[in-house]
Symmetry: C2
DNA sequence: CACATAATGTTATGCGCATAACTAACCTGT
DNA sequence: ACAGGTTAGTTATGCGCATAACATTATGTG
């Protein structure tokens, strides 16, 4: 692969990151949320109460990031943290009523953003999109155990058909 | 579009952003570069010396970000800033010899990263990838003049075939 | 059981990126 | 020629994310 093509790919990913995040920031601001926080709320809504370590795993970010996110979301009243009875180190995170209400609004925004994002693409491409993006992600993922070699069959991730 | 699909798209973009950037960070670290800086160097290599405002435009980030990036790259000796003769407000940014040497190494890394990223995708998909990503980007781009409606024909960006 | 090792979470620090507020220089139009 | 608006750049501040270093609790093995 020559540099032109490589740069086209890398640059496109970089710009998409910037713009998609910027758009998400703008949409979430009226709800008093910063980007990244919505992912935490949605995960709690999807899976239910869980420990921070699980959140870190699910969100794909490091424990210190989760510490800060949970602290801020707790301060704004959308989540609650309580000690885990079975493990004195861990704290269980769950949505408050305020948080549950917010999630509904976030879901709407999320649909609007996704539709806006894929506008103009053929339906077929849209259908393949999550799979393609997840493949790209897995290819550069150094967090999960290295399954970059010997990946058998399809890579599977949340949201894939 | 229902929430499941929407979330699959948004989440995939978010994770790809995180992982691709993380991988770029790891690859650039041995060169003493942080992610984002490589884009500035590559742009200078591609287009030649330019003013910060043009860099801001080309990189798709805000002027204050360019101020900091240029300051750090200047401190590490890869670029040089000198006053523009025709405009006392502006400063011209250009690569130093050290910077030019670095660019060659960055280009190699960039090719390796892109190849790693698209591993396992059919060649046809790889060929369409920059176009798809640029469409997504344009769809959520609030920076450029709003061409989200009435976009005629193809959206064109650097690197598109 | 004791002790080494692992896992959970926190604090400190640093980078990229953003917005807001500001200065200095450069146009315009009248 | 000068008043008003625009543009180039900077500083200050804040968020998300990362890594490093640390304290605390769990756990598995001698």
């Amino acid at each position: 692969m020559d540099f032109e093509q490589a740069d086209a790919v890398n640059q496109a990913i970089r710009l998409l990151s910037l713009r998609h995040r910027a758009r998400a920031t703008a949409l979430l601001a009226p709800l008093g949320l910063y980007p990244g926080q919505e992912a935490l709320l949605l995960e709690l809504d999807r899976t239910g109460a869980m420990i921070q370590a699980q959140l870190s795993e699910a969100l794909g970010c490091e424990p210190p990031s989760v510490t800060l996110m949970t602290r801020k979301l707790e301060a704004s009243g959308h989540i609650r943290r309580k000690p885990a009875p079975s493990d004195k180190r861990a704290s269980i995170v769950e949505l408050t009523d305020s948080g549950k209400a917010l999630v509904d609004r976030v879901k709407q925004l999320w649909c609007a953003l996704a539709e806006e994002t894929v506008t103009g693409l053929p339906a077929e491409t849209v259908a393949e999109l999550p799979g393609i993006l997840n493949t790209l992600t897995d290819n550069v993922d150094t967090r999960r155990p290295d399954r970059r070699y010997g990946l058998i069959g399809e890579s599977r991730r949340a949201g894939e058909r």
